[in-house]
Amino acid sequence: MMVVEDDPDIRMLVRLRFRFDDDFDLEGEAADVPTAVVHATSSHPDLIILDHRLEGDVTGLEGAPLLKQAAPDSKIILFSASEELRIPAAENSAIDAFLLKTDIEHLVSLSREVVGLAPVPT
């Protein structure tokens, strides 16, 4: 999996959340879309956790089709602090799911669902 996020604390947090799930390996991190596209082209991650507001001119919503083009089999979760993006994300065919950042406790379970893994028993 890959995380595309400009805030270093949130990047660290996402890394941490997936550290305790053996089914995921973090293959790359990026703070902007062009770097993420390069990573996606070479590593073809199964899952991309994508923020909307990123470094550079390209937003997550705009960058999702580029990432999908670079790695067509990757599933993309738009992980944003803007509730207003829920509908645009649903209308963007490159995005597979949307999660509000404050719902981060559901990030791993949603990721498992999106990539087709069985839920972890709680």
Partner: protein
């Protein structure tokens, strides 16, 4: 002819009602055409009494004057109506703009609050669930991230509350003669910024001292974060006003950003972190609340942000 005039007045009414020149032009054209044709074919239909037939030019003058006067009345009422409707439309447009701005403000405030709260909640949950599987160093790093998130959220809430008080005009303001040099020293200390300032110790401005300090802290923090040293503060007397300027030697603002610089959540670089995006809008609000104004002035060797406040009595 009398019926013709009746039609004409109805058309004037139509002009007023529909706010369009076309019925007016059609009515005028119709009247001129009808009078012209009728005047040739059957002059008595137009010049309907002997005096008119004897003096057609005089008659046409009186008749034309009458029509022009009534047209002017119609147009005047149209203009009046247009002006009224224009005012209503302008007010509606302004209300719409205010609504859009408020919607954007709420959306940005929600986003900017959720981001640090995500850190706080996420790291706290992780520490609770997996704390025993983390090293001491990791736990410390995560606690520091929680502290950063909480500090940022708290600063944002403070700024939002201040801004709300300013906008609602309920911010407690106690204007008094406030020494500029002493305020600059306090602000520099609070912002942790090294500042050079050659300001007469006796020079004062009419302002709430806490507000002056906060305005200077915001400017100095911005100068340090986005500009380059050396940072200096000047105070220049301009008649009954003092211009207090905070100068830095940074690259300045992108020209396209200048008109928005004092707007809430406006950032020249949206990805820059640290600030709440409200500092300069708070300065503007505080300056206005104290009867002054905030300004930005680019220069060849950097940039200058300042405030103009009323000159106070010198400290004795």
């Amino acid at each position: 002819v009398i019926e013709m005039h009746f039609h004409y007045f109805v058309m004037v009414g139509v002009i007023t009602l529909y706010q369009s020149w076309w019925p007016f032009l059609i009515a005028i054209g119709y009247v001129v055409l009808q009078h012209g044709i009728a005047g040739v074919i059957d002059p008595s239909a137009v010049y309907n009494h002997e005096a008119a037939i004897e003096h057609p030019l005089r008659w046409a003058g009186i008749h034309g004057t009458f029509i022009l006067a009534m047209s002017a009345a119609g147009i005047a009422s149209w203009r009046l109506n247009e002006s009224f409707l224009g005012g209503v439309l302008k007010a509606e447009r302004e209300l719409q703009q205010a609504n859009d701005a408020m919607r954007e403000f709420v959306a940005t405030a929600s986003h900017d609050l959720r981001t640090p709260l995500t850190s706080v909640m996420g790291f706290a949950q992780t520490l609770r669930q997996y704390g025993d599987r983390l090293s001491d160093e990791e736990r410390r790093a995560h606690l520091e991230a929680i502290e950063r998130g909480a500090t940022h959220a708290s600063r944002l809430v403070d700024d939002l509350l201040t801004l709300s008080q300013i906008q609602a005009e309920v911010l407690p303001t106690r204007v008094e003669d406030t020494a500029i040099a002493a305020s600059v020293r306090q602000a520099a200390h609070q912002a942790g910024v090294e500042v050079s300032a050659e300001i007469d110790e006796r020079l004062t401005v009419r302002v709430d001292p806490h507000h002056l300090e906060r305005m200077l802290v915001n400017y100095l923090a911005n100068a340090q974060h986005y500009g380059r040293p050396p940072i200096s503060v000047t105070a220049e007397i301009l008649g009954s006003v003092v211009a207090i300027g905070v100068h830095d030697c940074g690259p300045g603002l992108p020209p396209e950003f200048v008109p928005r610089v004092f707007t809430s959540f406006a950032r020249a670089d949206p990805t820059s972190s640290g600030g709440t995006g409200l500092g300069l809008s708070i300065v503007r609000g505080l300056a206005l609340a104290n009867g002054g104004e905030a300004y930005h002035q680019p220069s060849d060797d950097g940039t200058c942000f300042g405030i103009r406040l009323t000159l106070g009595r010198p400290v004795t």
